[in-house]
Assembly symmetry: C2
Homo-oligomer: 124 residues x 2
DNA sequence: TATTCATATGAATGAATTATCATATATTTA
DNA sequence: TAAATATATGATAATTCATTCATATGAATA
């Protein structure tokens, strides 16, 4: 089906429908990181990280700023946090049997004040 | 990249990252519709509509109920409306030059109050 | 300015997703 | 129960997307 009808809408959600990009967003919730740091933390090729940072920035999910040689990426918390908040609410209420999104773990942590280890590193 | 790390999260957003499915959600905002009605309104193959309804229902974005021969699908307004509300807010603030999502048209009315006091945050 | 470090880009391969067509199943009515 | 109606399913073709590798660009430092 043609996608012009809701180009922006489609772009918005398709940018979020990728494990690498979700992992990047999750990582940036901890604070800004440069490309090499993201690459090392997620254990993925630097070029692959760069390729994935581009759509995230284009959609306004992240911002970037160069500092000396490095370019630091940071989360657009204003809208990204609410997006995941709704996702968390939705998935807990309507998809309770499904596995948990790690992104929800962090939100859950706040609620119940219990620390779990960040398993988003355990992929690859 | 493996996707186990956030299976539900990935599923959630990938289900929304499809023009046909977005059009279905948009249509269902007007009220419940059966498969044939959706198919006719969107001018798409019936089987294609059925194929796309499945992931939407599986993710809890829509519900269905059989009435006589027909199966009526309805929107899960509780979470879908807030999702699009955030999308609208985000895209108007961070992607202003891009085309508008049709979904945003309906929400635009209420937009100005919520820009200062975003009620979509009330989910948690 | 030559070198090193950091990031970005492009092309091509491979992987995943989607639409299509044919057909199957399910429900109602004659 | 046969026919008509409504929806679902499966296999394949078509399309879109992601990853990789090689390399280019850009910024800082020696």
């Amino acid at each position: 089906m043609k996608r012009e009808l809701s180009e922006t809408c489609y772009l918005f959600f398709s940018t979020l429908s990728n494990p690498t990009r979700l992992a990047i967003l999750e990582l940036l919730r901890k604070g800004e990181k440069n490309v090499t740091e993201i690459s090392n933390t997620l254990n993925q090729e630097q070029s692959m990280i760069s390729h994935n940072l581009k759509p995230l920035e284009r959609c306004g999910f992240i911002f970037s700023e160069r500092k000396k040689r490095k370019r630091y990426y940071s989360l657009n918390r204003e809208t990204v946090e609410p997006i995941f908040k709704i996702f968390t609410y939705h998935s807990e209420k309507y998809c309770p049997e499904k596995g948990k999104c790690l992104t929800t773990e962090h939100l859950r942590k706040r609620r119940y004040k219990e620390a779990t280890n960040p398993m988003y590193l355990s992929h690859q």
